[in-house]
């Protein structure tokens, strides 16, 4: 039996918001990207923004920075999250509540609040991190003038904020693995480490793939951290991400046409990466 009218009556408000604030803007964004938006009124010039995109060194710099962060941060974070989840799931662990709090608490901390703390902690002269580094006799790091250090700082900050979030998802995946799988393996004297690599990891593959996709999309849109921690993508443009570049083009210079083209490029990249990820995860080996 079909209930077209009732169903759409229930769906209507949701779909209305979706059409008004997602579908139309996405279409409109494409139209805007075909216009010169730095003149008033906007002028139709289909090639202008798109050809600029492929030759703009600032765009490629932001793309490069984003990809570097992506390639380092996402695998490190997912590995850490997996370790956290596996350990939190262990029946041998004492004070589970405390550990859970430590790893999961960053999930509720807002971008602005934690960015401010990290900015202060990594201050060159008075930051607690440099004081601790100096305390153990190592050379202090100028986190905000050294491009590599600034990148490392962004990567550490994002990892701190999101590892627990992924650990929650992976933990849910772990808890859905039936006990008897492990019991059989333990009876056969398969070591815990081998059990992890040959039972747990393969069974977690879809969950980890889901985390990877979410994390990649998240990292591609990285904005608040380089905006607030490294002060608008500094030093120079060393930590300028695609998100920050987009913000600068769209809202700093008011060049919405070009920003729309950049947004499409980010979306295309995200879709491609996600598809590759999902394909890899689905592939039965």
């Amino acid at each position: 039996m079909r209930h077209n009218r009732t169903a759409y009556a229930f769906l209507a408000p949701y779909l209305l918001i979706f059409l008004a604030f997602w579908v139309w803007p996405i279409i409109n964004s494409f139209i805007i990207s075909l216009h010169m938006t730095r003149v008033n009124p906007w002028r139709f010039a289909p090639g202008a923004n798109w050809s600029r995109l492929f030759t703009d060194p600032a765009f490629f710099n932001a793309l490069k920075n984003t990809l570097i962060i992506l390639v380092i941060q996402v695998p490190v974070m997912i590995a850490l999250a997996t370790i956290m989840a596996v350990f939190l799931n262990s029946p041998l662990l004492k004070a589970k509540g405390l550990f859970r709090f430590a790893f999961f608490a960053p999930v509720v901390v807002g971008e602005v609040a934690y960015s401010a703390v990290f900015r202060l902690m990594f201050n060159y002269d008075f930051g607690v991190i440099n004081k601790l580094i100096a305390g153990v006799g190592l050379p202090v790091v100028d986190w905000y003038s050294n491009p590599t250090a600034a990148m490392a700082l962004i990567i550490m900050a994002v990892t701190w904020r999101w590892a627990g979030y992924n650990a929650i998802i992976i933990l849910a995946g772990l808890q859905s693995i039936p006990e008897d799988v492990y019991e059989a393996a333990t009876l056969d004297r398969v070591s815990k480490v081998r059990q992890f690599f040959y039972i747990t990891l393969p069974l977690l593959k879809p969950v980890i793939a889901f985390c990877l996709v979410l994390s990649i999309i998240g990292t591609m849109q990285l904005f608040a951290e380089p905006f607030l921690i490294t002060n608008r993508g500094g030093p120079g443009q060393a930590t300028e991400t695609l998100g920050l570049f987009l913000y600068r083009q769209g809202f700093g210079s008011g060049n919405f046409g070009y920003a729309s083209a950049v947004a499409y490029a980010i979306a295309a990249l995200a879709v491609v990466i996600s598809l590759i990820q999902l394909r890899l995860a689905r592939d039965p080996q």
Partner: protein, 277 residues
Amino acid sequence: MTRSGQNRLRSFTLHALLAPLAVVWLFPLWMMAVFSTMPDHGIFSSDVVLWFGTSFTDNVRNLQADTDFMRALTVSVFVGVVYTVLSVMLTSMAGWALARYRFLGKTAVLGIILGTITLPYFVVVIPQFVMVARDFKLANTWFALIVPPLFNSLGVLFMRQSFSMMPPDLFDAARVEGVKEWRIFLYVALPLARPTIAALSIILFLHSWNNYLWPLLISSDRSMFTAPVALGSLVGLTKVSWGGIMAGAVLLTGPMLVVFLLLQRHFIAGISAGAVK
């Protein structure tokens, strides 16, 4: 080695690995709390300070002098509450439709909702801004802060899953007795979905509470700043009280940590819902 000896060694290794990681993970939150209680000359001194000072109220006062943070907190609470209520209404209605009825275009609607999960928000935010601020001149309004972020795909999937796990006989019996569909939804299905709604509400409120980019773009008028925007506007200024900023960070984070501690189960259910489809 005996079985229990092996377990003890394993347990020791486990804790030895995990404890330092937990300390590192707690450290930024600890420092946030410590900084919020220290005067600026204490924060910018050459001593390592890891324990609380007594300047929290002074810092709050400094923060209030730098930006009207109490006003911003009020804006954030109001926006968060209205956003959460509206979003729960929209997503539970849509989730109900997708769980309960067969209708033309159902696969397409589901496919689109799933598809938007992998769509970066950045594609939408510029045209959203152009539409709301430029075309409709609605910048700095409650409407602009609350309505455009309402679309939410994970929430619908979460509600749909909850409704489809309920036995359909329950609803069919009511229908046979001539109860209207919207009454079945309102008085039978929704009360049964209370745990899911609780988990969803927490996640939605948190999302709104911490939302930064959209309110940053859409509110240029200080009186319509949300708390994260107000706090973010101070980061990077030269003449600003960092103790004050940290006090603001604590005021933003503290309540959420308390909610997290009290309602951990709902929190975790809400987040891990993404994993179970």
